[in-house]
Symmetry: C2
Subunit: 246 residues, 2 copies
């Protein structure tokens, strides 16, 4: 691993609170690697040998059953994947492939478990990360069960606008067919629904999203912290070491 990589990694919230000794031990077997676009690097059912940490690029987590396939999540830097499988030493429930050329850090599962045992700061960072992943899937499942496709689209696109800094217009971060799969519908239906939403304050032209009437659109999206986020900032006062108070 290159020293510049090492320095960069040390700053990640996962590793920031580790003792130097544990950190060195942990990173002994670690390496950082580039993957080309559209490469499936993990197949569901395979053992989870490494925790993956996405440093640059974009990765899709997807699931298949028979000949069907669905996008479960899109990971952006800095994000981790297959953490749960790593912890349990269980087979991955999802597959992973790059959506673009990506730089990924691979952390051997055994090292992770060792460091979890040895270092409290790391252990805390890991559960916190895992709890975040859990809450993200719960949100996704809620969306699938409580909203219809029109509402899923509206809420997704509004939420993205929020994340981009409460803008009225932005670029779609992913291809439409991927978005359709993520939102649990066919590409055809997404296309049609987008057209239908033009009546409701939304315009999508190619990859450009324009929210022409936020109030109207919100009546459909009904964004909800408990379904769309954001999660309160991770690892806040209550969860970390007490310092301010006494």
């Amino acid at each position: 691993m290159r020293p510049t990589d090492l320095a960069e990694i040390r700053r990640l919230s996962l590793f920031r609170d580790m003792s130097q000794q544990c950190y060195e031990q942990l990173t002994r077997g670690v390496y950082v690697q580039h993957f080309p676009e559209s490469l499936t690097m993990i197949r569901q059912g395979e053992p989870a040998d490494f925790l993956h940490i996405l440093l640059d690029g974009q990765v899709e987590l997807f699931a298949s059953w028979g000949d069907r396939e669905t996008t479960m999540s899109v990971i952006k830097p800095i994000g981790t994947f297959i953490l749960a499988a790593t912890i349990r030493d269980a087979p991955c429930l999802m597959s992973a492939r790059t959506l673009e050329r990506s730089r990924i850090m691979l952390l051997p599962s055994a090292n992770l478990r060792q460091a979890f045992r040895d270092d409290r700061g790391f252990a805390h960072a890991i559960v916190d990360e895992l709890a975040g992943c859990y809450r993200a899937v719960v949100r996704h499942a809620k969306g699938m069960k409580l909203r219809n496709s029109r509402e899923r689209i509206a809420s997704y696109l509004m939420r993205q606008a929020q994340l981009a800094g409460d803008v009225r217009s932005y670029q779609l971060p992913v291809e439409k067919r991927l978005l359709a799969s993520y939102l649990g519908m066919t590409a055809e239906n997404l296309s049609r629904a987008l057209r239908g939403l033009e009546e409701d304050g939304l315009k999508v032209d190619g990859t450009r999203v324009i929210i022409t009437d936020p109030i109207k659109l919100m009546k459909i999206a009904k964004l909800d912290m408990l379904m769309d986020g954001p999660d309160p900032s991770p690892t806040t006062e209550a969860a970390s070491l007490p310092k301010a108070t006494a």
Copy 2:
């Protein structure tokens, strides 16, 4: 807390590996309580003050949005809930209510976080539990996105038969309307689909399920370890302290 409760709890996998000191500290603020049937004890959006551990009875986790509601999970003893919210000190994403009179242990979130910091065995048990919860939701989400209602019913009922010990006939563990909600459909549709499945080796009469033709039913259910479980037994060799291999 009664001494008999205390002894019982100590044996739970969550607490089994704790040091006596940490255990005593942890259980200082703990209490065990009975709840009547149909009592909503947690409302989504509320802070998670306690980790809940179900000792007896049955609890439903459900989510709502506007006037819609859906069952996310049914907890059976021994099971935990709102672990992730507890860890993150974040609002609960789901509500919880008893399906029958239940005995529940309440463990203050602050105690949990303290014990997590102080005791490795406990920390490990907690991540392991959380990882299990994560994988369960991922499975649920996969089922919702990859299978249609007919397939979800078939796979659910086959899986229950497996869990009951590979039997051909058993009692439904929950009411049908609850099952419908859990499987993401209306009660009417469940009823009709069950009728339709009589052609495919399944008979449901009241709460009695009879798998008349497992092979035929399996062609629809297509049970899959990665979607229907079981998960490899939690906390196995690889994840715990090395002992056999010197």
